[in-house]
């Protein structure tokens, strides 16, 4: 049989990407194209008193300046819902330029359209906006007197509080307690391609080329905001230069591009600048977390209390949920998870790779490391001892693998025989430490039905289509593999097409759900088509397979044949030519199991890291990392490895590099470029080992749990625990400041 699934094949879009042939959104050229530039508010709170666009309008090439005074009102109010749900997903319940109010710095207050990119950018600098500034709250420290407990998060999808047992009493009675508070700076996705949209109107119908993780979300959102029939909005995306959550929602600039194009009667390209991405596509919010662990002397957890405080916008109760893993990973009777919020003058924060749980797990796994020291138990052993066999409702995991990941990771990394004493190992000026953490990430399941179409031509070649999009996950490759496998065709005979809402519908590819749901839909379509052709053959008097039981027929290399008599059979091509079918086609669909499925749904893994710290200079270098993961079925180990490794690098970076501070005087981010907001470069990244633990899972689609986030979870904690081992200092603030590891210790 064909076994395209599970093979480490090269990316099908590799050639396009290495030759520069892959087209990203801002590279679509259209006749009569014009260019838009956004003017963002310079204040975090207050009003636009006046806009003087006269200088901008008289600059060369300028076609229009849109402000709240002349931009038409939107037809439907935005409402915050995750795009995976398959409804309009505007990212925040606020649309700019509808009135004079300013809620956050960077909020669009004017839009310039001009004949060229340079003309638009220059004219944008000439738009003279006068503001009336009002007091603002842009950081947690400014809003401590206004904290409220969030009832529901995520547009009402999730409760803000999760409790069981009696955590207060259990903690009070626990023989061993660990308690600590943590502070985390805001993070920005910084996908390398800044979001861009090109809008074209034709006969009242809108085509959008959009840099998005969900073309369907763009279609639904823009249709909703502009009051258009869905059939009048088509969204196309060929390649997307990274997402990491920044393109999971349909942010205002997308609809603004459409409005601008309608206004000037020509196609408009709106590409955000790098600086604008810091205030245009959400961010991971500044936050604080507190955790308390209660345990017995023999190292059994009895209680966990896990609280998060973060800052959101004025219009949405957004918090990345941080307690989904801490409430489930370990077997604890008493649990309390609470999310508290402060309304502030930022835009609504959003999904950022490993949303919520990366920091939630950082807190949990740092505390577990402390507990291991407190008890004198090996950190790996402590996790093994406490890993829950079921979810808190008593449901078995759809698949597990945590213990295997921990054991394999310890072996590959060379964990055993480690001297746990801090500051015990040196290499010249460097203090050497090793650390580990468990990893888990919830499997998201709240998407609607997903569809795909498969077509085989009379020459035996096939096209499989679905409305997903490629932003680096390798979906084009794995979907080709799944289709080839199900159709029984060689990989080279199958072409997979995506990136167009005219194709069968799938949801935004977020929350690690993309590969699973797209593969399930593709598998359904391809299987339906194969079954149809097999059924045709067995009922065709002229077929060698006539009269055979369809269940006894398999397909390999495009030839249908009897499983136990492979010489009997015929190719798809033979059958179709004889039947005068130029092609045959089926649509297949996959619907996720109900949310009430009696299974625990987490993906598991284990992370190990070795660091070197120079306490004289405050330098921290990660020397090596090992990650072991049990993501269910791996469709393509080469690509999965890349994605998991990318996640581990994000974890390293979250620990050591990434963070943005608010300049609260101005209510603006301190950093808004890649020179000041640090992301890892080549020299920051060591060799990384990624291993898989195989687990069978028949609950999740095709057994795929996803690899988009789990690689990142636990990585920051492993690094921080290694820093503790090296230096004896706990990192309770991310990103780490050099002075925390310098000798003598900073008093904090």
């Amino acid at each position: 049989m064909n076994t395209a699934i599970g093979r480490p094949v090269d990316r099908v879009d590799g050639h396009a990407k290495v030759t520069g042939g892959a087209r990203y959104t801002a590279e679509i050229s259209l006749p009569g194209l014009t260019y838009a530039a956004v003017v963002g508010a310079r204040i975090p709170s207050g009003r636009v008193e006046s806009v003087d666009a006269s200088r901008a309008l008289s600059a060369g090439g300028v076609l229009a300046v849109l402000t709240h005074e002349n931009l038409p009102k939107i037809a439907g109010q935005p409402r915050l819902l995750p795009s995976l749900l398959g409804a309009a997903a505007p990212g925040q319940s606020f649309f700019p330029m509808q009135d004079a109010a300013v809620h956050y710095a960077g909020q669009p207050v004017a839009l310039v359209v001009a004949e060229s990119h340079e003309q638009a950018q220059y004219a944008a600098s000439l738009v003279d906006v006068a503001y009336r500034r009002e007091p603002s709250i842009t950081a947690i420290d400014e809003g401590r007197d206004r904290v409220y407990e969030a009832q529901r998060l995520f547009g009402g999808l999730m409760p803000g509080r999760d409790e069981r047992g009696d955590v207060g009493t259990a903690l009070a009675e626990a023989p061993v307690r660990i308690e600590a508070g943590y502070r985390f700076a805001a993070n920005h996705h910084n996908a390398l391609e800044p979001p861009a949209t090109t809008a074209v109107w034709e006969d009242g119908r809108l085509t959008l080329y959009d840099s998005t993780m969900g073309i369907r979300a763009t279609q639904l959102t823009v249709a909703h905001l502009l009051g258009l029939p869905l059939s009048h909005v088509r969204v196309i995306t060929h390649f997307v230069g990274g997402g990491f959550g920044s393109k999971a929602m349909t942010w205002p600039h997308v609809t603004l591009a459409a409005m601008a194009a309608r206004h000037v009667g020509r196609p408009v390209r709106l590409a955000l600048t790098r600086a604008q991405t810091y205030t245009s596509n959400g961010h991971r919010e500044e936050q604080e977390q507190r955790i308390s662990l209660g345990a017995t002397r023999d190292g059994r957890l009895t209680a966990i209390r896990h609280h998060k405080l973060s800052i959101t916008s004025h219009f949405d109760d957004w918090a990345e949920p941080a307690t989904g893993v801490s409430s489930q990973l370990y077997d604890v009777e008493h649990y309390e998870g609470v999310h508290s919020l402060i309304h502030g003058n930022t835009m609504t924060p959003t999904f950022t790779r490993g949303p919520g749980e990366t920091l939630g797990v950082f807190v949990l796994e740092t505390a577990m490391d402390e507990l291991a020291y407190e008890l004198g138990v090996d950190p790996v052993e402590l996790r093994l001892r406490n890993h829950a066999r079921t979810d808190p409702r008593g449901n078995p995991w759809s698949s597990d693998g945590l213990a295997e990941c921990l054991r394999l990771g310890a072996e590959r990394f060379g964990w055993h025989g480690r001297d746990p004493r801090p500051r015990a190992r040196r290499d010249g000026d460097w203090l050497i430490g090793t650390g580990m953490a468990a990893a888990a990430y919830p499997v998201a399941f709240f998407m609607p039905e997903q569809r795909a179409r498969a077509r085989v031509y009379e020459d035996g070649s096939a096209v499989v289509q679905t409305g997903t999009q490629e932003f680096g996950t390798g979906v084009l490759t794995v979907a080709t593999q799944v289709a080839a496998d199900a159709l029984g065709l060689p990989l080279e005979s199958v072409r997979f097409e995506a990136g167009d809402t005219d194709l069968p519908n799938t949801s935004a590819a977020v929350g690690s759900a993309g590969a699973g749901m797209v593969s399930a839909a593709v598998h359904a379509a391809a299987t339906a088509l194969r079954d149809r052709l097999v059924a045709m053959a067995v009922t065709d008097a002229d077929s060698p397979l006539h009269g055979a039981d369809p269940a006894a027929v398999e397909v390999a290399d495009g030839r249908m044949r009897l499983r136990d008599r492979p010489e009997t059979g015929e190719t798809y091509a033979d059958l179709m030519i004889r039947r005068r079918l130029a092609d045959a086609e089926e649509v297949g669909s996959w619907t996720p199991p109900p949310l009430t499925t009696p299974h625990g749904l987490l993906t598991f893994g284990a992370q190990f890291a070795e660091v070197a710290v120079d306490p004289g200079l405050g330098l921290i270098r990660v020397r090596r990392m090992t990650g072991v993961f049990a993501p269910g079925r791996v469709l393509n180990p080469k690509l999965a490895r890349s994605q998991l490794m990318g996640g581990m690098v994000w974890g390293l970076s979250q620990a050591l590099l990434e963070g943005n501070e608010m300049d609260t005087r101005h209510g603006r981010w301190g950093a808004s470029n890649l020179g000041e907001y640090l992301v890892p470069v080549n020299a920051d990244i060591p060799e990384i080992t990624v291993e898989f633990v195989e687990v069978e899972d028949d609950v999740v689609p095709l057994g795929i749990k996803g690899v988009g986030e789990i690689g990142q979870v636990g990585a920051a904690a492993a690094v921080a625990n290694a820093v503790f081992h090296a230096t004896g200092r706990r990192l309770r603030r991310l990103p780490l400041a050099a002075e925390l590891v310098m000798d003598p210790p900073a008093s904090s």
């Binding site: 990316r11 390398l192 990274g242 990491f244 600048t273 080549n682």
Partner: protein, 177 residues
């Protein structure tokens, strides 16, 4: 990195004031001459992408901080977003579209695919332009050199280990006779 800005080079050029309106400019890109009208403020990157349709060079920041726009001018790597197109007259510009020979991908392009040295692909043309140049520059001798001299090219998808491996492969294949 940068075009030749030495005093000698400056003297060779005639100091004429051109602009601010569109000027006729001849750009030589991948061996082909293109006559275009450009305002002097147009960057080489925007000229390539928006005027010549050569969109292989990417715009990640437009500020000289990411390396996605890396091209070669007279054989040296430069950031096209920080280079004015009009300053490239009379020079040879090479972009990712120009590194293949007779339609055959450059060995570095093949090595990037083999080692899965990218995910979204947006940094990739810039990485490859740097990677090829690194070997020419003699900056690919050691692993540390490769990591250091590739650090002007950010890959947010974090394909760094694969990028290093691809460069080592191509370097070693060249050294083998």
């Amino acid at each position: 990195m940068g075009i030749d800005l030495t005093a000698e080079a400056a003297r060779r050029r005639t100091p004429t004031v051109r602009g601010p309106s569109e000027q006729p400019v001849v750009l030589t890109v991948n061996g082909t001459h293109h006559a275009v009208a450009l305002e002097p403020r147009v960057s080489l990157l925007d000229a390539l992408r928006d005027r010549l349709g050569l969109t292989g060079s990417k715009k990640g920041c437009d500020q000289g901080t990411c390396g996605a726009c890396t091209v070669w001018v007279d054989g040296r790597r430069v950031l096209a977003c920080l280079t004015l197109a009009i300053a490239c007259e009379g020079r040879q510009v090479t972009t990712i579209e120009g590194v293949a020979t007779d339609g055959e991908p450059h060995p570095m392009q093949r090595a990037f695919i083999e080692h899965d040295a990218f995910q979204c692909g947006y940094c990739t043309p810039g990485q490859i332009m740097s990677a090829i140049a690194l070997i020419e520059e003699g900056n690919a001798e050691t692993d540390e050199d490769i990591a250091e001299f590739m650090s002007g090219n950010i890959c947010r998808c974090a394909a760094y280990p694969g990028i290093r491996q691809a460069i080592k492969d191509v370097r070693d294949a060249r050294e083998r006779p």
